[in-house]
Amino acid sequence: MPDGERKIYNRLAVLRTEREMSRIDLARILGVNYQTVGYLERGDYSPSLELAFRVSEVFGLPVEAIFSTRPFVPLSEQVYGNAQPKEVSR
């Protein structure tokens, strides 16, 4: 990502894994190279608006559910709150 560019966070890896898709599968549907999917997932590349909309169509979710300018809260935390890890007694 070029210096000074705002980082775009995304949930691509989670969504892809939930749907049991490989990077190559997703790349084929999106019409991009599989290396580009890797770059997108790591946040090393911010997609164009057109590609972001294509991704949202593939997953059937609104764009803001997949991409954000702020880090996403983990899904487990969203569902169960900020629970502290319990100590397991032996």
Binding site: N33, Y34, Q35, T36, Y45, E50
Partner: protein, 183 residues
């Protein structure tokens, strides 16, 4: 199921071919070889270029002083240098081949990388041309004893590296700067 190549209009066949290449490209790496290997090839290419230019710089008189390869004469040495250079160039192109295709075959990230590398290569080439120009002016005006290209052979010696630079710089910039490919 094997898809049939459309037999209709040229536009149909073209669009089929583009879709086929794009589909194949989805699982083909855009960048091959590790960054270290690519950098080694870039260094090799320009060292070989330097060796060729210095070998030719002696002119017909200097041919006798060229090293011989396995007992063969200076021509064999030049052929060896040219072959090694072309091999390096082909390897370099192979390592970033995915990013050198036309706009319809590469995705937006790859287009961005290619365009950035081409712009950087253009600036480097401009710098090299400015340096050559400055060298000729300084040598000609101030007559400070540095050799001035005057004969056709000497001008050709300047054009060979500039031509090679113009052809290989975008690939070299890509190969030098891109990180290791995805596993």
């Amino acid at each position: 199921m094997k898809r049939q190549i459309p037999t209709g209009s040229r536009a149909e066949r073209r669009s089929f071919m583009q879709a086929w290449v794009r589909e194949r490209r989805a699982d083909e790496p855009g960048v091959r070889l590790s960054r270290g290997q690519r950098r080694l090839i870039v260094v090799g290419l320009y060292l070989l270029l330097l060796a060729t230019v210095s070998a030719l710089a002696g002119g017909p008189e200097g041919i006798g002083s060229m090293p011989s390869i396995l007992g063969a004469g200076p021509v064999a040495y030049l052929i060896w240098l040219a072959t090694a250079q072309i091999t390096c160039f082909l390897l370099l192109t192979y390592s970033v081949r995915g990013l050198l295709l036309g706009n319809s075959y590469i995705d937006e990230r790859e287009r961005e990388l290619r365009d950035r590398a081409t712009a950087r290569a253009y600036r480097i080439l401009n710098g090299a041309l400015a340096l050559v120009g400055l060298y000729v002016i300084v040598a000609f005006v101030f007559k400070i004893g540095v050799p001035i290209p005057s004969t056709a052979q000497q001008l050709l010696l300047l054009l060979i590296p500039l031509g090679w630079l113009a052809t290989s710089l975008p690939q070299s910039v890509l190969a030098w700067t891109l990180p290791d490919p995805e596993p």
